[in-house]
């Protein structure tokens, strides 16, 4: 059982469409991060959200942290082929000392067709 459930696992859309990826858990997180990974490379940090209800925007990407800090979403507006990749959410569990250990979701593979 995954502590962080990402959905959908696969997403195939046309250029210009909008999409949302969800990251859900029954656990509370101190912070939640989103990474993007391209084939043959390591994940690259996109954003960190730390406050319940927080919304962060990064150009066409909008990230939201749930009020209860148990879930997050990534919304992409007008997707482009360059957005293609594996998107991973990762959380730092609240309570105690986690030493920065992150729990990862299983990932969403996004393909944007021109």
């Amino acid at each position: 059982t995954q502590l962080l459930e990402q959905s959908p696992q696969f997403l195939s859309i046309q250029e210009g469409e909008n999409l949302t990826v969800y990251c859900n858990s029954s656990s509370v997180f101190s912070s939640l991060q989103w990474y993007r990974q391209e084939p043959g490379e390591g994940p690259v940090l996109l954003v960190t959200v730390v406050t319940g209800g927080e919304v962060k925007k990064l150009k066409r990407l909008t990230f939201q942290f749930g009020d209860a800090r148990k879930d997050s979403s990534l919304h992409i507006t007008a997707a482009q082929p360059g957005d293609t990749g594996l998107y991973l959410c990762a959380g730092d569990l609240a309570g105690g000392t986690s030493y920065g250990k992150l729990t990862f979701g299983q990932g969403t593979i996004l393909t944007v067709h021109p």
Binding site: S31, Q33, V44, G100, K101, L102, G107
Partner: protein, 117 residues
């Protein structure tokens, strides 16, 4: 600025062989981690370290060992390789605390793809 460097990039091992995956970072990060990535499973934590001389087990430590003699280096040792260890291995490092104006997060290496046959 190299960030996190992993070697080798690819390796094929026979069952029962041993090897060391190298990881070095030049950002003076105290925290370092080893994860494995399997299709559809995200990343699973193998071992982590909060500073030189200090290491601890993660979620899937069996069959692996680590050491941290310096801040920069965090090698992962596989003893008696098994087919179940076929995976992509990532080393990462991070700051120790969330500091103002800096997004706390990992810097990953580019990975080592290991196949055990």
């Amino acid at each position: 600025n190299a960030g996190v460097t992993q070697t080798p990039k690819f390796r094929i091992l026979k069952i029962g062989q041993s090897m060391t995956l190298q990881c070095t970072q030049d950002m003076n990060h105290n925290y370092m981690y080893w994860y494995r990535q399997d299709p559809g499973m995200g990343l699973k934590l193998i071992y982590y370290s909060v500073g030189a001389g200090i290491t601890d087990k993660g979620e899937v430590p069996n069959g692996y060992n680590v050491s941290r003699s310096t801040t920069e280096d965090f090698p992962l040792r596989l003893e008696l390789a098994a087919p179940s260890q076929t995976s992509v291995y990532f080393c990462a490092s991070s700051y120790t605390a969330k500091t103002g104006g800096i997004d706390y997060g990992y810097t990953f290496g580019s990975g080592t793809r290991l196949t055990v046959v």
